[in-house]
């Protein structure tokens, strides 16, 4: 009976893993991308529902301490499944219109989601490593989805080579921590007494591995290339779900495996947060390509989130989780709208100047884009503001004042490149007679839901923040 209960603690993982295999078989036997799409939606929605109900359930460990469930992990699962579900919904229209609609996409998305779910529930470096790799290998395939498209394949190659390089560092870090502590369980690593050179080298290499996955400067080189080259809705999936999963796992490692060493890694993350914010924002300022701009903006957001990690208190971690939620909603939304513009064949929508005058042609898309971009800037009624505010506030409480000042200045600078898109959408005249098709009902509806959630959690953050705050007060 004990083992049956343990299986229930990883129910979202089981659903998504089974769904991935099922969709792959469905593709093999029917070849119907439509059926695969429907099955993916159903299974993802089921896994999301289970993850949401787990938020209010107990927290603990299962499978002899390999897996942690409830609390932060469940919230990580909610983030991953939200990202997956919306990316899948948006993918169908985009991939159909651009002629890349094949059923394998959905099984690869599900396998990647499986890796992310394993990653956010890992309580041991072995499960962590397997989660990261399952996620990354599926994402390499997804980035190179269009195999006769030069840019897509180039994105896949760059992602793959740098990803494999990062894997080496991550695994070396895990190996050295194992040698220093004699175990791969996060709690046993926290209890290491002899903190010699091997231990610190292990911690450093593990951090490098994580910095690659969350694309912190100077390990960000792959991000803009991959985000630009990959199909746009796949980019949305990579930018939200995989980043959120990596951040949640980073929180788990920092808070469970390395709590005593906080004073040491806090300084390191401080430095990288500073670099990431400054470089991410400066490079975003000079971008003309919208997808690259969004890629650099996601690097800048990673910098703000790292401020919370540098603070390293329970309040800061729960602020980071809130930020990740807001980040997921607004990024999927923004990439979804870019995908909508891009599916009009015969027009070029790579540069920001191509967006001139589009805001009034399909007003609903223009308005939704404004909501997501304003939220990314961090303007009050939207969730992005609350996320930023709470992360900065938690960092000020820890005395990281100079870092917060840089963060505020950087986000003030970011107004320029976000609003530039809106200026082109609404205040410039359209050059040629672009005719925009109407987006599908489900496509519009899912973007509307994302925008509604962005506004709801901006006005009413208490619902979520109370829940997130309760994760850290419970000891187990």
């Amino acid at each position: 009976m004990e083992s049956a209960n343990e299986l229930l603690t990883i129910l979202p993982l089981i659903i998504i893993g089974a769904a991935g295999l099922f969709v792959m078989m469905l593709d093999a036997f029917t070849g119907s991308a439509r059926l695969a799409y429907l099955a993916t939606i159903l299974f993802s929605a089921a896994a999301l529902a289970v993850a949401v109900s787990d938020l209010f359930g107990p927290m603990g460990e299962s499978f002899h301490g390999l897996i942690t469930y409830g609390g932060t992990s469940s919230f990580g699962m909610v983030l991953v499944m939200t990202g997956t579900l919306f990316s899948v919904i948006l993918s169908r229209d985009y991939l159909e219109k651009t002629g890349m609609h094949i059923a394998e996409v959905y099984s690869m998305i599900l396998f990647a989601a499986f890796g992310m779910l394993l990653l956010v529930s890992s309580n041991n470096l072995v499960t962590l490593f397997l989660g990261i790799e399952t996620m990354s290998i599926s994402l390499y395939v997804l980035a190179g989805l269009v195999k006769n498209h030069k840019k897509s394949v180039e994105a896949a190659l760059k992602y793959f080579l740098l990803g494999a390089f990062a894997t080496g560092f991550l695994l070396y870090g895990i190996a050295l921590l194992y040698g220093a502590s004699g175990s791969t369980f996060l709690v046993d690593i926290a209890a290491t007494e002899d903190k010699g050179m091997i231990y610190w080298a292990g911690v450093g290499l593990l951090l490098v591995g994580f910095f690659f996955k969350i694309s912190a400067v100077p390990f960000h080189m792959w991000t803009p290339d991959v985000y630009q080259g990959a199909p746009t809705t796949i980019t949305a999936f990579m930018a939200t779900a995989s980043k959120a999963a990596a951040f949640v796992a980073f929180i788990l490692v920092l808070s469970r495996a390395l709590p005593d060493a906080r004073a040491d890694w806090s300084d390191v993350i401080w430095l990288f947060a500073l670099l990431t914010m400054v470089v991410g924002n400066i490079l975003a300022l000079v971008q003309d390509n919208v997808k690259r701009m969004l890629a650099y903006s996601s690097i800048a957001h990673a910098g703000y989130i790292m401020i919370g990690l540098a603070a390293g208190t329970d309040a800061a971690y729960s602020a980071v989780l809130f930020y990740l939620f807001a980040y997921t909603l607004m990024n999927i939304g923004a990439f979804g709208i870019v995908a909508y513009y891009e599916w009009h064949k015969g027009y070029d929508f790579t540069e920001v100047s191509n967006y001139s005058g589009l805001g009034f042609k399909q007003p609903i898309m223009g308005v939704l884009m404004s909501v997501f971009l304003f939220s990314m800037v961090g303007i009050p009624p939207f969730a992005g503001f609350i996320g930023k505010y709470r992360v900065f506030a938690a960092a000020v409480d820890e005395g990281l004042i100079s870092l917060v000042i840089v963060g505020v200045l950087a986000s003030a600078a970011s107004v320029y490149y976000y609003l530039r898109v809106l200026v082109h959408l609404f205040m410039k005249e359209s050059e040629n007679g672009i005719v925009l098709s109407r987006p599908g009902t489900l496509y519009t509806a899912s973007l509307l839901i994302l925008a509604a959630l962005t506004i709801f959690f901006g006005i009413n953050p208490g619902v979520l923040t109370d829940l997130l705050g309760s994760f850290w007060t419970v000891q187990y």
Binding site: E133, V153, T167, A175
Partner: protein
């Protein structure tokens, strides 16, 4: 039993050779081989720690790392073939549509 340091030293040297190879080589396949060398040098670290500690977990992790490396090789070589078909070269300095 030999000194632990020799095993760790050997794997550190192999790892460094892998890193230098990834950073300096231009052929995508050679870069990939260097990344594999990094993973395998880590496996050497893991088995030597495992033997020293008398703990089997490290060796189990090696099996997982081997599986991951195999999966990565399958996907990676497929990507490199796709690159060759599109560009007729696997020289990473000549594959530069995406920059800045």
């Amino acid at each position: 039993m030999m000194e632990m340091d020799w095993y760790l030293g050997l794997s550190a040297v192999l790892f460094t050779i892998g890193v230098i190879g990834v950073l300096t080589r231009k052929n995508a396949i050679v870069i990939f081989m260097c990344a594999e060398l990094m993973l395998n040098s880590v496996n050497l670290t893991l088995v030597s720690f495992s033997a020293q500690l008398g703990d089997v977990h490290g060796q189990i992790l090696v099996f997982f790392a081997l599986c991951v490396a195999a999966a990565e090789a399958a996907v990676g070589l497929a990507i490199i073939i796709a690159i060759y078909r599109n560009n007729l070269t696997v020289d990473v300095t000549k594959i530069n549509l995406l920059r800045w």
